[in-house]
Symmetry: C2
């Protein structure tokens, strides 16, 4: 699976118009059309309803669009985390506990976590459930 195809797909799915999507991507219609076909082939899933003149998303296309946005967000997060880590940032995990939570298990979890990820700073809060 190629990231390029996903970027192209998001543009087409949002514009529902190859020419506009192509312009937005800085390429021509032709490679976009081929790319969408290629994507559908690779997935084995029809993403668009084509009537040669109209471009609409199938249900699978709508679902896939949402998933593609998730992917983009995850990739974006990955790049930012790496850059932050390079600048000495040490990740930290905030855990909110409810009153009713069983405490002993938390203790052993934290102990194991410190073994596996000693650099990780962990802060524990106690909050009312609301």
């Amino acid at each position: 699976m190629d990231f390029r195809l996903l970027r192209y797909f998001v543009a087409v799915a949002e514009e529902l118009h190859l020419a506009r999507a192509a312009q937005r991507l800085g390429i021509e219609q032709s490679p976009l059309s081929r790319a969408m076909r290629e994507l559908e082939n690779q997935l084995g899933v029809q993403l668009f309803d084509r009537s040669t003149r109209l471009t609409r998303l199938t249900w699978a296309g709508q679902v896939f669009l949402g998933e593609c946005r998730r992917v983009e967000a995850t990739v974006d997060q990955a790049l930012r985390s790496a850059k932050a880590a390079a600048q000495g940032y040490q990740g930290h995990l905030r855990i909110a506990l409810c009153d009713s939570m069983v405490q002993p298990r938390i203790a052993t979890l934290l102990a194991r976590s410190r073994e596996d990820e000693p650099e990780l700073e962990i802060r524990v809060f106690e909050l009312p459930f609301a």
Copy 2:
């Protein structure tokens, strides 16, 4: 950002040995070495400690490895969702409620959800908190 570089990076980060990683990927050492440099350049982040003979992950590299796995999982999920949707699958959301949860807000939430995503099947459960 290219998926190819991410796949390569995960292999190298897990093997910590270019030759083995290359073998696992079905390519040669040479393009892998270039790919890792390319990745570091694109990120502007040093991912490996190179001593010409030893390959280790920097802290940023360790963080990025974790993020890459998240990306892979998200992509995998995207492909599966699209295929499932193509076969008529309609997503459903399961919501578990605790006794103390405020009920009125849930009702309005569900109503709005039905407007926005009528195809979505929603099941609500009530569970004890444990």
